[in-house]
Amino acid sequence: MHQFIRLHIVASLLLLIATLVFGLLASWAFLFPETYNQYLPFYQLRPFHVSAALFWIISGASACVMHFKNDAFGYSNQNKTLEKLYITTWIGTIIAIFACYALKKFGGREYWEFPPVLCLPLLISWLLLMGSYFLPWFKSAANQPMYVWMWSTGLLFFLLTFLEQNLWQIPWFRQSYLREVTIQWKANGSSVGAWNQILYGTSLYLMVKISGNEKIARGYPAFFFYILGLSNLMFNWGHHVYNLPASSWIRNTSYLISMTEWVFFIRMVQGFKNTLDDRRRYKNLIPYRYLIASEFWVFLNLLLALLMSVPAINRYTHGTHFTVAHAMGTTIGINTMILLSGFSYMLGIDKIKDKAKKIIGTQYWICQYSLGVFWFSLIAAGFIKGYMVTFQGNTNFQEVMAYVSKALTVSSIAGAGLLISLGTIAVVYIRQAVTMVVREQ
């Protein structure tokens, strides 16, 4: 592995640590605004947390693709110049974004709250990454495994959704509020689908490498599930805007497509026995442990997503912490677990000292239990608000939040557990990456 990819892994892990620190601070600012508003208000901390999380996932995913594609396409095809330019521009822009937040300079939209001019260097850097990926892709063999399809799709659709996300800067898109907000959430929803394609592709690649069974990434069954996932990326974003008085066919399409996710769910239940067999076989491998954790969280979050995709249920869950539970369960339980699996594989974590491996093993379980408490407490917060507002018709916001805050206090404590466990794992991985860089020099 090249040094610049290792350094990109280090930068990604620093973003993970930043996500956890800002997340915990933001939860305290939410619970104790009177204290925090003087120094670090919630409206400043939340963008730090959200952007750090977003860039942790995308940066980590790009590090995995940059490295693993060399195996898929052949190392001789690697374009190091484009990759170095991508990393420099990307990380440089992230630093500029954080500087804007520190100066309270905003101007963007949900998830992308920085001044929109910074979207330009992000766009350029993504094009550089795509160039470094697709140039060798064109020269590679025609019949590629499904993980290559997934990486390619993810990279392409992230570009499309990023452009779509910025359409609000064209006046026509802001002439109607419904149009503006519908397109914003179409882009946001599909963007999540795009980086999930990259991450699920990485997960599939790792499963192939761990098991040595290339068949699981080839053939029509694998292609069928890929196409089903792609259809959901394209059309299953509407649950964000179910309650908008927009055209009904948008809601109907999304509701219909989202129900195809039951196929994934049934497949997971059917494959449970095989997973148990594999688990016994590979239980000592650290990358595999993370993949198993990600599958468990896919199961729970898929069930939650299926329920939230039914408009009659969405009526209770929309605008509550159910949405946060789903977002956090997905980003920590699925995305972060897959990235840590990929990083473990790349950094050779299975070969490090036993003492360090023991630390990872302990923190892994603290992370899983903390996430469990975190996830269920957010669901409890969502349930309280949904019940009080939609079922009881309580319109007194402060009264509702007084009850919700009790559940959020529990989630904040669990968040501290996540900071300690994932933070410790990140530090061990950073040390390993830096040691490898120093050793090579």
Binding site: Q44, G108, S247, A312
Partner: protein, 135 residues
């Protein structure tokens, strides 16, 4: 075969995207486009990062209440909104906005309010679990 399936799906997605762009707001009750004040208010809303604490149509942060229909709230009138923004509260910081900026934000919230109602009434839920918002 695989490339054909992928291309077909992408074409359907492109048509669908065009339809979303051109037809998604057919039910928008706003007959007029936003005036200059509402447009300026929308920009201030973003520059002050209001969406990180407040929701519109249930989208945004959870710190403060949803403001989709605050402009037509029978109890919380314009003076109430103005007082909140001007002085802040224990939970909401005072952003020290100019009078013109406050007027613009109120104009923006009025424009959003005219686009529809945030809460879907119970009677709009159908047996299929979907909504019927046509009538």
């Amino acid at each position: 075969m695989k490339v054909l399936v992928w291309t077909s799906l992408f074409i359907i997605f492109s048509i669908y995207t065009y339809l979303v762009y051109s037809q998604c707001d057919q039910k928008d009750t706003t007959t007029t486009q936003p005036n200059a004040a509402a447009r300026a208010g929308f920009n201030t809303w973003q520059q002050k990062n209001c969406q990180t604490c407040h929701q519109l149509y249930g989208l945004g942060g959870y710190m403060g209440p949803d403001l989709t229909n605050i402009a037509s709230d029978p109890v919380k009138n314009e003076a109430y909104i103005r007082a909140f923004i001007t002085t802040g509260t224990a939970k909401m910081p005072n952003f020290h906005l100019q009078d013109a900026e406050i007027n613009n934000i109120i104009a923006f919230l009025r424009w959003v309010d005219k686009s529809g109602r945030n809460i879907v009434p119970k009677e709009k839920v159908t047996l299929s679990g979907n909504y019927n918002l046509d009538h």
